[in-house]
Symmetry: C2
Subunit: 338 residues, 2 copies
């Protein structure tokens, strides 16, 4: 099968870039010093490539991701890097074999849920500047005491500097990340445990504070992260077909808002031309030498919600000009949903 | 089962609003004068409610939608209101029983594909101002001749005035729609056939030119269409749970970019408060009297790509304050994918 045989729209990934990105990260952050974030790609088959690269601990954002990772035999040290109030599903998860689940907690309610579900280990989630989950740093000690009183073991702290992740100024990103991580280190001194978990693709090298980095997008990258000076390359394309061409020169592709996410901006074209706009089923691209039936690749601006729209990614050895490559495998996106 | 038992994030729909929207449209556009657009909701179960309301012809945007509608017994007059170059799947579709498929064509290539697939009937798709699919009006006659020479019957024309669909100025929307439809009527005079197909939820009453209206979003509406003076009401919510609450007062919900689309703006809260921002798994909402575990409803800004992210919609009799309602049914979103 070749990319020309794929019905469009469909995601294709460049295997060479994927392997290079994984290898680059693993050389700087080997084994457990990286806790790859499954949320970015939602695929146990892709996670297995990370196991082959030496990683054995993972982050998940949803209980569905935890369940799938355990079922796929990669549940020996999973972190739910998110808060949950779903006692029932956590409890059911723990009935599975070979699973060690640590959950993030940031309130007495989430601590109570973890304890009631039979969870044994938690990280105290600290707000390090992003207005999202995480307790106030000054409450870390109190919550750790609460958790211990509830019979939970504290493995350490977690704090995600998501507000700094896309700052294109490397020096500022580094300085601000250091300041942000001082909050996390200070909370860790209060709380104890072996783990300081945080960071992501954007702070992969400027975050030296964490004992484990929570990166996921680096594996295939996207337009938003590519604005930074990172060594990872974009390896994901939405493959589309030109279904209409105007006399004035613009063309219409058969993929749009339902097959890629535009929350971080419109996609970019793999080859020549620019995107005019995306609508539900279409992307209109500016004047060029388009022909009806031609295959066109779009680089998504944001990988996570784009992949979550698809059932699978076609893997090719290398994405080349003309977009005619041998399909060498399929990555099922088996961890979608909640 | 009550909404409180639903794991979040999940879509819920207000059955009373759904029925009222369907009824309001059917009273103005009964039977075949409406060709409801399946793309908005991608559910054969919801389509069956439209059959009960008297409609029997439907629009689809994808071959997947055509296949599912035929399999569900609603294939007696389906229009692929979109261009396709997939001869194989069109051909396979025609092997199914009780199916009549009309496709939109706007080029010699799409005409050739329709003919090669064994399609018998087409509409000539005319560009009426939106830079997307549709031939130049002056080419309509030539393409109709081409289609007839290829053995295809011309049922008429189609033209979608999508660029006018969300104009909040009713008078301007009406005037511009009339101008746009003059192009379509003129093309129809050249082309012939019984059908003039076009329009949508936003031009449901100002488009008097079409013999059949292609509306779909009206069934459950969204924030974007609700800016217009339409008689249809918003009946769809993303049900979420507060998983974190800051001391300063903001709260974090467990639904974000992967469970609703923000291409037309952030969602609105069903009750009090405002959205600060959406991220992959979360929505942060402004200060209020939030409690961890509380259920919160978000009104999506754009229905089509939001529903396409979900496997099902929970149907409740009526969405009320407090978001605690009896679940009276489930609508499977069975026409997702391509």
């Amino acid at each position: 099968m070749r990319t020309g045989d794929i019905k469009t729209p469909a995601l294709i990934a460049d295997s060479k870039i994927l392997e290079a990105n994984i290898s680059t990260m693993a050389s700087r952050r080997p084994g457990k010093s990286l806790r790859p974030h499954i949320k970015a790609f939602k695929s146990t088959e892709l996670a297995k490539k990370l196991v082959q690269a030496g990683h054995e601990t993972f982050c998940c954002a949803t209980i569905r991701e935890l369940e799938g990772m355990v079922d796929a035999g990669m549940g020996t040290d999973l972190l739910l890097a998110n808060e949950t109030l779903d006692t029932t599903r956590l409890k059911n998860l723990l009935l599975k074999e070979n699973c060690r689940i640590t959950v993030a907690v940031d309130s007495k309610e989430t601590i109570a849920v973890a304890a009631a579900a039979g969870i044994q280990e938690v990280l105290i989630d600290i707000n390090v500047g992003l207005p999202r989950c995480g307790c106030s740093p000054e409450d870390a000690g109190f919550l750790a005491d609460q958790a211990r009183k509830s019979g939970l073991e504290i493995r350490g702290v977690m704090g995600y500097e998501g507000h700094l992740m896309h700052d294109p100024d490397t020096l500022r990103r580094t300085t601000k990340t250091e300041e942000s991580m001082e909050i996390l280190i200070s909370a860790h001194e209060t709380v104890g445990g072996d783990i300081i978990s945080g960071g992501g693709t954007g702070t992969w090298d400027c975050n030296q504070a964490v004992t484990e980095l929570q990166a996921g997008s680096y594996v295939l990258m996207d337009g938003d992260y590519s604005k930074l000076d990172l060594p990872f390359k974009e390896g994901l394309l939405l493959l589309t077909t030109v279904i209409s061409r105007s006399k004035s020169g613009y063309a219409v592709l058969d993929g749009g808002l339902k097959s890629l996410s535009v929350d971080s901006g419109n996609p970019k074209l793999f080859d020549q031309g620019d995107v005019m706009f995306c609508s539900d089923e279409h992307t209109t691209v500016t004047n060029g030498s388009w022909s009806v039936g031609q295959r066109v690749g779009l680089r998504p601006s944001h990988i996570d919600p784009t992949i979550a729209k698809h059932e699978l990614i076609y893997l090719v050895d290398e994405i080349e000009e003309g977009l005619d490559s041998e399909v060498i495998g399929i990555l099922n996106i088996d961890l979608r949903g909640w």
